[in-house]
């Protein structure tokens, strides 16, 4: 009896999830979030967030911020299936030698989330972008 109720509860959750899924279209994630303009907004906001975070800013001392913005935009465009190619260096080349800690990594993700919030990217789109970036973490931590 209890098991049946449990199965019913799972069925309800699945139904909700499927309904929400059906509401989405075949547009690429890039188009759904608003294309080039939104991606540029995210990178601008992200740089702004970093500038006001004393801990993460330290990593960027001496970096070419214009290049960073350009490469990050390309990368965000590419992972959201937009019409771009990433022309920057590999994540391990770029972040190697920085000895990025787990907590600084997560702090940076928090800044990126702030940047996406301010660019009006919805929670569900944010998660899908983060899902694309998440596998890159192993090339960056403690290297």
């Amino acid at each position: 009896m209890v098991t049946k109720q449990f199965a019913r509860a799972i069925a309800v959750i699945c139904a909700i999830v499927t309904l929400v899924a059906c509401a989405s279209t075949t547009e690429s994630l890039y188009q759904q979030i608003g294309g080039e303009q939104t991606i540029e907004e995210i990178t601008e906001n992200f740089v702004y967030e970093i500038e006001y975070d004393p801990v993460i800013l330290e990593y960027f001392a001496g970096s070419d911020i214009e290049r960073f913005k350009q490469k990050l935009s390309e990368q965000l465009c590419m992972v959201t299936n937009g019409p771009c190619e990433y022309t920057g260096d590999s994540m391990s080349q770029v972040h190697g030698g920085m000895n990025i800690t787990e907590s600084h990594f997560n702090r940076t993700v928090d800044l990126l989330i702030n940047a996406m919030n301010k660019a009006g990217v919805s929670h569900r789109h944010q998660n899908r972008i983060l899902a694309e970036l998440a596998p890159m973490r192993k090339d960056m931590l403690y290297k």
Binding site: F6, S103, N106, H123, N127, R128
Partner: protein, 278 residues
């Protein structure tokens, strides 16, 4: 007394470190389950309580109350999480027999070690192993019902994974736990039975969706042994959790705990508040 000692020790440890837990994404630290482990509401998860990363530690505290038809369970406890590797917890259960009168108290001391992975970032689920050592303080009812012992230890292995954006863009979290136990109703009715004091393997699971960075909902299920022959039922609940900050969370659940000590259909509201203190 023991509780005070635990927190004293925790504070001492903290004083020697410089960094408090800030290193996880909000809502990914989970809650403290009934027996104190980082988890959901009734199931221990592979995640450790608190927002500490590999370079940090954290202290969390929580209080939970479950109002059933004939009983009321109060839980207060705390946990210490070290470098996202080891979790130590202690809780006090007070089980009010609201219909019969009287109460039963129990202490639970827990330890958990993360064996593998990161709940979000690793390809495979995060995996942890834990123990929960339970010491019943009021043994009269357990003895009268034929329990073998007034103390016992549960062992568990838990796997937990968050899939980013997997539920139509929402983050999906699932957990599966296998527990070796001989506890009767968490241990409140003692451990084992005079003819049978061995451990049984029980399966427990949770499934949840994070509807925002501050709101999660889901279901949990926990298989239970029936050592005393009183028809002890499996447990399940549906929950909603609101997590406004890393320092505060509140969970409301509907729990169906079945038959308890001969009283059938024990259902009711589960309310828990908790958060990271440090």
């Amino acid at each position: 007394m023991k509780l005070a000692g635990f927190f004293g020790g925790a504070l001492l440890l903290c004083a020697t470190s410089v960094v408090a837990g800030e290193g996880k994404l909000i809502a990914t630290a989970g809650l403290n389950q009934l027996e104190g482990a980082g988890g959901g509401g009734i199931v221990p998860w592979a995640t450790l309580s608190g927002y500490d990363s590999r370079d940090e530690m954290s202290v969390s505290a929580f209080a939970t109350r479950v109002n059933l038809d004939d009983y009321r369970l109060h839980v207060v406890g705390g946990s210490l999480s070290l470098y996202d590797r080891v979790e130590l917890s202690v809780v006090r259960h007070t089980f009010d027999l609201t219909t019969l009168g009287g109460d039963i108290a129990q202490n639970v001391y827990g330890a958990k070690v993360r064996l593998y992975g990161d709940v979000i970032y690793s390809d495979w689920p995060q995996l942890s192993a834990g123990v929960q050592h339970k010491v019943l303080q009021d043994t009269g009812i357990a003895r009268a019902l034929g329990a073998d012992s007034d103390r016992g230890t549960d062992y568990y292995l838990a796997a937990t994974k968050v899939h980013l954006g997997a539920a139509a863009g929402y983050n999906l979290v699932w957990n599966l736990t296998a527990r070796g136990t001989n506890a009767n109703q968490l241990g409140l009715l003692g451990f084992g039975q005079q003819q049978d004091d061995g451990l049984d393997i029980m399966l427990e699971g949770s499934l949840g969706v994070l509807f925002s960075r501050h709101l999660a909902a889901g279901v949990e299920y926990r298989q239970k042994p029936d050592n005393l022959g009183l028809g002890e039922d499996n447990w399940w609940d549906v929950f909603v959790t609101y997590i406004p900050s890393k320092h505060f969370n509140v969970t409301l659940a509907w729990a169906e705990l079945g038959s308890i000590a001969g009283a059938a259909d024990q259902n009711g509201l589960y309310l828990s508040v908790g958060g990271q203190l440090w």
